[in-house]
């Protein structure tokens, strides 16, 4: 399940929601706001999402991950709004009976979330300019 959030992500709260008596492993990924992109010094980021389609597309991604790497529980939270350096922009967590499915499903979900969900990122630079970030894989495919 994907949640779009305009408030800070709380990993400890999310982690507890993935507890399952049958789980022997848990894997999480956190995407953080960093201070540089392609040579530009970044001050902060601004995320925008189209929530109805982000949620429905994420449902497909979770189902695909379940088919490939059967897991027990999975969650993803993506921030929107203005984020500062070091803020958590996206969190993915997966619990599964054994570690392999947790690692692989977590990796699959974050990789697909980045290229498929209608979410956009605007970088605000130290020089006062700003720019929308294009998806790397989409740009390479063109």
């Amino acid at each position: 399940m994907l949640t779009i959030s305009s408030t800070p992500i709380q990993p400890d709260v999310l982690r507890r929601r993935l507890f399952d008596p049958a789980a022997g492993g848990f894997c999480a990924f956190e995407g953080w706001v960093r201070n540089e992109n392609e040579g530009h010094t970044v001050l902060r980021l601004e995320y925008e999402a189209y929530e109805p389609l982000a949620v429905s597309e994420a449902d497909k991604i979770f189902a695909e991950a379940m088919d490939r790497f059967p897991y027990l529980q999975a969650l993803c939270v993506h921030r929107i709004g203005l984020l500062e350096i070091g803020d958590c922009a996206v969190w993915v967590g997966v619990s599964s009976p054994h570690r392999d499915a947790a690692f692989r499903a977590c990796r699959y979900i974050i990789d697909e979330v980045k290229v498929r969900l209608p979410i956009w990122k605007k970088e605000h630079y130290v020089d006062g300019n700003s720019g929308w970030v294009n998806c790397e894989r989409c740009a390479r495919a063109s």
């Binding site: 925008e48 597309e57 922009a89 996206v90 979330v113 980045k114 979410i119 956009w120 990122k121 998806c135």
Partner: protein, 80 residues
């Protein structure tokens, strides 16, 4: 002519200066709608980077548009 409501997101919204507008277009496909709005607002973004939805369903660019449809134009995504 068809009455099509177009919704713009992120970079497209900034280019267009608005988030939604209703247009009368001789469009057959989602690609035709994209081309018409591109011309209307002077966007230079290649279509290959972008995605489109009709009435909240992700579709391909050759999908047909009908009178009264809402077409959502998504510039290149960048989650995470």
């Amino acid at each position: 002519m068809k009455t099509i409501t177009v919704r713009y997101f992120a970079m497209f919204r900034e280019h267009a200066g608005l988030s939604t507008e209703t247009l009368s277009l001789a469009a057959e496909t989602a690609a035709d709608v994209f081309a018409a709005t591109r011309e209307r607002h002077g966007s230079t973004e290649p279509r290959g980077h972008c995605k489109v939805a009709i009435n909240d369903v992700m579709v391909s660019w050759d999908s047909k548009v009908e009178d009264g449809d809402t077409v959502l134009l998504f510039p290149p995504v960048a989650g995470g």
